[in-house]
Every structure is written in structure tokens, then in C-alpha cells.
């Protein structure tokens, strides 16, 4: 079953445990500049928003890559970068409308979220508040549907 990262910014406190988990998983370091998920802080509004690749089905990055270094994992649906093919041309970073593919100067390649190969992604595992969860890809809106369903008044006569 394909699964998706589901992000609820209202639950995010901005602790960056997700960024550290991502950097640790892929680079063995806590340095959050290497994370593929990024928490943005909008100070004046008091909002924190974790943001990462949406794994678009018709992925702009994948289509734009001239050397076919970005591939689709048929099992997980993740678009991942084949490091040995990537030439660091950065066309994918231009093609991605969300900015979630990023060039890494230290390696000369791009990096993006690969859903940690489909296991429980490290960011979701590390999140202490449930702001990042890993859910059935066919039902990413289930919680919100349930919430609104709960507000539906099915018995107006009883009020």
C-alpha cells in the first residue's frame, strides 16, 4: 500500500526534531541544513509549517531531468535521486513548483525526500506532536473528513 507524509502545521511547535532525524538518516549528522524537510517559522503570525516534497505523480522534477537521475519507486510512489546519475545541473530545482528539490554544494548533486525508502520515514517517527504522520496515500484527507463529518447534524429534531 502506498503511503504519504501528512503534515498538520497546527500541531507543529518548531522543535526541528524532524529536520534532525532526516539529516541523521541520510547523512549521519544532526546538521539541519542537510534535511530534506524544512520547518518554516512565520514569526508575526505565530505559525510553524513543516514542508517537504509532495511526491507528485506526474513529477515535474522527474520529467525535467535530462539524465533520468530522478526515478519513481513503484512500491512507495516516492521520487528519488540516483546519485550516480545526477550531474548537478539543477534543472529539477527550477522545475519543481514547490522548491522541495535542493542542490547540495558539498556533494554537487541534488537531494529530495525519498520517504526513507518507504519504511516509517524518520521525520514522522521523530515528531513529538503528531504534526507529521505517515498515512494511507488514498486517504490523506481522512482525518479532516472525519472532523467535518462529526460536525454534521443528523438529527436536527433532537436539538
Amino acid at each position: 500500500m502506498q503511503k504519504s507524509l501528512k503534515i498538520d502545521p497546527n500541531k507543529c511547535t518548531g522543535c526541528l526534531q524532524c529536520e534532525m532525524a532526516c539529516a541523521t538518516k541520510h547523512h549521519g549528522t544532526f546538521t539541519i541544513s542537510r534535511s530534506r524537510i524544512k520547518v518554516f517559522s512565520f514569526e508575526a503570525e505565530g505559525r510553524k509549517v513543516p514542508y517537504t516534497c509532495t511526491q507528485c505523480d506526474e513529477a515535474w522534477c522527474l520529467h525535467a531531468c535530462p539524465v533520468e537521475a530522478i526515478r519513481k519507486d513503484a512500491r512507495t510512489g516516492a521520487k528519488y535521486v540516483k546519485d550516480d546519475l545526477c550531474v548537478g545541473c539543477k534543472v529539477c530545482t527550477i522545475a519543481c513548483p514547490f522548491g522541495t528539490v535542493n542542490y547540495v554544494a558539498a556533494t554537487g548533486k541534488v537531494q529530495k525526500c525519498d520517504l526513507c525508502g518507504g519504511d516509517q520515514p524518520a521525520c514522522a517517527q521523530a515528531c513529538p506532536t503528531g504534526a507529521i504522520t505517515y498515512v494511507d496515500a488514498d486517504w490523506t484527507g481522512l482525518d479532516r473528513m472525519r472532523q467535518w463529518a462529526g460536525k454534521t447534524d443528523t438529527n436536527p429534531a433532537a436539538v
Binding site: T13, G14, C15, L16, Q17, M20, A21, A23, T24, H27, G28, T29, F30, T31, I32, S33, R34, E43, A44, E45, G46, R47, K48, A106, A126, P128, T129
Partner: protein
């Protein structure tokens, strides 16, 4: 291991910047941050020097768990000789600056001398540069951070800076990072200002500066420890929901909330300025003061308050710069600016808290000093002519006005900027300064909580609540309930707490974790992070070593056992009402026993045997 093993040494007088290897023998003796930086300071400065002279040094220090996934692993400290007290100053902050410094590859930055003109220090990984800050001088912390990020086109840069209070050398000026996180106490911002250093901006992308000795063991220990925090009522529920403000009503009910410059011990307005009140809708605009909670780097507790003012409130009516969200009041700030002055206007407290963040001031000392000024005014000692305004106890307008004057360094605000000890001495009533070693009390009354009284009297940086936190056993029952009224057993318990606190502060994590974590939880992370042998016994001895090192610095600086005392009000004026009615702080019963369990002489000096045992 999770030290980067590198120190950045910056001489502001000559402009010379050097890299040094970390003294690993000291790191094994003092761990990091508070302990290790104190060791460096003690070895490098004359303890009798003037804290605001160029000879004083300012050490910015991280711990071995700073910048790791350990929950709350974002702490960093500023160590220097404090201008408010003349004692050792170690001021601790959260936010994201400390972790970023570590990412850049540095355990510590040692700042020496004084720059001729205002400068700021830019650290980009291994490269550090001193740059002209003339255009930033006079600017607020908020403006400085924005200007630097914009100028260097790096929104991910982290900045620690001083506001006008630090520039004007207000003796309780803070260093503020990430807009509303502060190394708040003891006036470390004044030392930074005296060095003509406006800001430190840092960006770290080094990926191999440090790694845990046992990465898998560390990851497991971190996950287990996170679960302990989540399952605990205080760290899992109370602090995320109400922040430290969860304490306002609790401490008031216990009868230990100092009010009106400690004249009273309960505050009728406590509920109006409590954590609960921050959640309630305001009658004026129908919105709550609190918008959300927020975490520091790596913190799974998230006690930080993000507040939004009523834009129609008199304090901010025509000042749109304060209409957005920013750091709201925590318990100590709400108490100092509120109860200590008899003020119960939550919006006004929040505004002054914004001001303290923006201009870099310690709200505890600010509020307590205003409280003392108000009492002097009530007694007719301080007149309207001298102060430039009427300041009766309980006046919201006076509290706000004095805070603004202090931040701006104008009028009577200059006198407020000296702190309560100097203020009260100036008007011939030194007894009215509610301070120890020149630093004002935080939000617990020593007549109500005997252990806290002993903690205040013996704290190395002056009156302080985060050098032991006896509120845990005396009010919250952590790790076990102790009767707050009794003096029995308080001395040995305090020693254990003080030593453990020194370990926590030296490791790079937050004291609030100790509501849930015991020594073994902390040890379980330090061990795989550093490798080698880090038993709990060794860590507790390390904490004791840090405490004694600080003590010896203070003794060399001219403080003595006579400074381990409390204001006469706490010792002689019984509490007037509430559950603690009739009680005074019984320091005399506890202090000799404390000296004994510490292995100190009757005069409070570590004995030769103690010094030798700790390898000092």
C-alpha cells in the same frame, strides 16, 4: 563524540581571530557549557577586575548535547564576571542559536578586549569575521536580526544580539537570540555592550564536526528519554499547555508568591495574570492573549509562549510594530512585572515583556527593581520630582513608563537600570532591595518555601531559581514531597539538586527536563554521545566540581560567607497572610548544615580536603 573540540577566540581590541583545540582534559572534568566555560574564565581572568572593563571576557558556550537530537538539546550559555553582582555569571538560553554554533563547528567562542567601534561577529562554518556595526548601534534586537539576515541574504542565519539596554550598559541587560530567547540574568548583555559587540550571527552547515560515539545507542536513548517527557504530567501536559505560567495560581495558593516588593506573600490579582488567563478570551477584542506554544531547538516540551496583544490596549495603540505575535510572558516575567509591583494587567505585562525581548533586558530584575522604587515612593523617600512621575505601587502606567525609560536610558530609567541594590542604597534603604549578592529574587518567597530560601542564599550567581529548583520537592513533589515549612533535610537535598543542575547546564539540555528525567535518564544519553565511562556517580561529582569552582571564583572576587544571606524582610518580617502566615525564612537553621554537607568551613570556604577530592 559530540564535542567539536574547537574553540574560536576573538580579540576585539586587536581584531585577531584564532582557532584553538578544546582542552580535552578539562572537557572530561567539566563536560561543557556552564562548567567548561567557567573553567576557562577562571583560568583566564583576574576575579577582582571590573566586569565592564575590557579585561573581562565573555564566553559563549555550548554543551556536548547541544545541537544533537537529545530533547531540549538547544541550550547554550554565556559565562562572564557579572556586572550586577560582581560574582560569576552564567546565563543560559534556548532558541536555535546554540545549535547553529555547534553546526558551524564550534564548542565555544571566547570574546576578549573591546572593539574601538561597534562591530558584529559573523561566523560561517570555519570562517569568522568582525564587521562594522555602526549602522546597527541604537537598533533593537528585532531590527538587528532582520537587518543582518537581509544584508547577508541568509534567512537561515541565527543571531544573538543586544538591544539598547546592552548598549547603555543597563546592569541587567540580556543577550537575546531568535527574537525572544534570552541569556537573561546577571547583566551579560551589559558586558557585551561594554565590548562594543552588537551581535553574533552564525550559520553552520558542517556535517562532520561531531557525531555520537555510539550513534545507535544514542538514538535509542534519545527516543526513550523523549517518551519519558511525553508521558510525564508536567512536561507532557502542563508546560505545553500553560508554559511555566502553570505555576502562577499554584504558587499563590501555596502562599509563596512574593507581592509588592515582598511586603505580601499572596497576590489578589494572580489569576488575572496566570497561564489560565492567557487562554481566556479578552473582553476587549474577543481574542486570547496566547496564540500558540513554541519549542526551542530539539525540544519536545515546547513551553514557549507566543502571544498577541490587543492592538487597542493603551500600551501599543499607535505602535503597529507590537501588533504581531511574539514571545509572551513566562512565569517569572509575569510575576516580576506583575505581582512584584501589584500590577494585574496581563496585556501591559505582555507589552513590557515584548519590550524586554526587543531591547534586551531581564524582566525579573527590571520588574523587581520597579517594585522597590514603588515602595520607596510609597514611603515618601523617592519623590515625584526625582522620579519624574508618580509611581505608587500597583500603577500600570508607572510600570510601563519606567520600563520604557529604562530601555531607552532616559531620565529616572537610568537609575532603574542599575538594579534594586544600587537604587535602594542610593536612597538610604538598602534593606528594601529584595536581592541576594545584588541579584533580585525570582517568583518564590523564601518565607513560604524554606528550601528555596537556602537555595537563594547560596546561589553562586545571586538570587536564582534555576540553580537547584527546590520548588520541585517542596511544591510539586518531585522526586518526593518535602514539607515546604520545615528546614529538615533541605541542605542535603539542595546540594544534590545544585550538583545535578550543574550537570544539566553543562551538558547542553534544559533544566525543565528534570521534572520528568532523573539522573539516570540524563546519564543514558551522555554515555553513548561521548563514549568512554560516564557513570552517574562521575557526573554528580562533576556537578559538585562545577559548583565548587564557581564558589572559589566568587571568594577570590571578594565575596564571603556573609554574602550567603537574605534581606532582613525575609528573615524578620513574618508573612502576613495565607497558609504560610507568621513564617520567616529560617536560614540560620540550614546554612551551617549546608556548609557541612558541602565540605566547606563554617565561613563557607571549601576545605583543602574538598578541593583535593574534586581535583580543583
Amino acid at each position: 563524540m559530540t564535542w567539536t573540540q574547537k574553540i574560536l577566540r576573538v580579540n576585539l581590541t586587536t581584531g585577531e581571530i584564532r582557532t584553538e583545540p578544546l582542552n580535552m582534559a578539562w572537557a572530561h572534568q567539566f563536560l561543557g557549557q556552564r562548567g567548561l566555560a567557567t573553567k576557562y574564565l577562571v583560568e583566564e581572568i583576574d576575579p577582582t577586575l571590573d566586569p565592564l572593563s575590557p579585561a573581562n571576557k565573555l564566553i559563549i558556550a555550548t554543551g556536548p548535547l547541544t545541537g544533537t537530537a537529545a530533547a531540549t538539546g538547544g541550550r547554550w550559555s554565556v559565562i562572564t564576571k557579572g556586572p550586577l553582582t560582581g560574582a560569576i555569571a552564567c546565563s543560559n538560553s534556548g532558541g536555535f542559536f546554540g545549535a547553529e554554533l555547534k553546526f558551524a563547528g564550534w564548542d565555544m567562542v571566547i570574546l576578549e578586549g573591546r572593539a574601538e567601534k561597534p562591530v558584529y561577529l559573523l561566523i560561517e562554518n570555519e570562517v569568522a569575521t568582525l564587521l562594522d556595526a555602526s549602522h546597527l548601534w541604537g537598533r533593537t534586537v528585532w531590527e538587528t536580526e532582520e537587518t543582518l539576515k537581509h544584508h547577508h541574504q541568509d534567512p537561515q542565519m541565527r543571531v544573538a544580539s543586544i538591544g539598547r539596554a546592552g548598549e547603555n550598559q543597563v546592569l541587567f541587560a540580556a543577550i537575546v537570540n531568535d527574537l525572544h530567547r534570552a541569556a537573561g540574568r546577571s547583566g551579560v548583555g551589559a558586558v557585551m555592550g561594554s565590548k562594543n559587540l552588537k551581535a553574533i550571527a552564525v550559520r553552520g552547515t558542517v556535517t562532520d564536526a561531531y557525531r555520537p560515539a555510539d550513534p545507535e545507542g544514542f538514538a535509542k536513548a534519545v527516543a526513550d528519554a523523549k517518551a519519558v517527557l511525553a508521558a510525564n504530567g508536567v512536561t507532557g501536559q502542563g508546560l505545553p499547555t500553560y508554559g511555566t505560567q502553570v505555576l502562577m495560581n499554584v504558587i499563590n495558593e501555596v502562599g509563596a508568591l512574593p507581592t509588592r516588593n515582598h511586603r505580601d506573600i499572596q497576590f489578589e490579582g494572580a489569576n488575572a495574570i496566570s497561564g489560565e488567563a492567557m487562554h481566556e478570551k479578552r473582553p476587549t477584542d474577543g481574542k486570547a492573549n496566547l496564540v500558540t506554544n513554541a519549542a526551542c531547538f530539539g525540544c519536545t516540551i515546547a513551553c514557549g509562549r507566543i502571544s498577541k496583544l490587543d492592538p487597542g490596549h493603551f500600551t501599543v495603540k499607535d505602535k503597529p510594530q507590537y501588533h504581531g505575535c511574539s514571545g509572551g510572558v513566562e512565569y517569572e516575567a509575569a510575576w516580576a512585572l506583575g505581582a512584584a509591583n501589584g500590577v494585574s494587567d496581563l496585556e501591559a505585562l505582555t507589552y513590557v515583556n515584548f519590550l524586554c525581548n526587543e531591547q534586551g533586558m531581564d524582566p525579573i530584575t527590571l520588574g523587581a527593581t520597579i517594585g522597590a522604587a514603588m515602595e520607596l515612593y510609597d514611603l515618601g523617600i523617592l519623590t515625584k520630582e526625582e522620579a519624574g512621575l508618580e509611581l505608587p505601587t500597583g500603577s500600570v502606567e508607572a510600570m510601563v513608563k519606567l520600563s520604557e525609560l529604562c530601555a531607552a536610558g532616559e531620565g529616572f530609567g537610568r537609575i532603574i537600570g542599575l538594579g534594586s541594590r544600587r537604587l535602594c542604597a542610593k536612597y538610604g534603604r538598602p534593606d528594601l532591595s529584595m536581592s541576594v549578592k545584588g541579584q533580585e529574587f525570582p517568583a518564590y518567597d523564601g518565607r513560604g518555601l524554606q528550601g528555596m530560601a537556602l537555595e537563594y542564599a547560596t546561589s553562586n550567581r545571586g538570587a536564582c531559581h534555576v540553580r537547584g529548583y527546590m520548588v520541585s520537592p517542596e511544591v510539586l513533589g518531585i522526586p518526593m514531597k518535602m514539607d515546604p515549612c520545615t528546614t529538615e533535610g533541605k541542605a542535603p537535598m539542595l546540594k544534590t539538586f545544585q550538583d545535578l543542575t550543574a550537570v544539566v547546564d553543562s551538558a547542553g539540555i534544559c533544566l525543565f527536563t528534570t521534572f520528568a528525567w532523573g539522573g539516570p535518564d540524563i546519564q543514558s544519553m551522555i554515555q553513548p554521545a561521548l563514549g568512554g565511562d560516564w557513570s552517574l556517580d562521575r557526573l554528580m561529582e562533576l556537578g559538585e566540581r562545577v559548583w565548587n569552582l564557581e564558589r572559589r571564583f566568587n571568594l577570590a572576587a571578594g565575596l564571603t560567607g556573609k554574602d550567603d544571606t537574605l534581606p532582613p524582610r525575609l528573615l524578620n518580617e513574618p508573612a502576613k497572610a495565607g497558609p504560610m502566615k507568621g513564617r520567616v525564612a529560617e536560614l540560620g537553621k540550614m546554612l551551617p548544615e549546608y556548609y557541612e554537607v558541602r565540605g566547606w568551613t563554617a565561613e563557607g570556604v571549601p576545605t583543602a580536603a574538598t578541593v583535593q577530592r574534586l581535583g580543583l
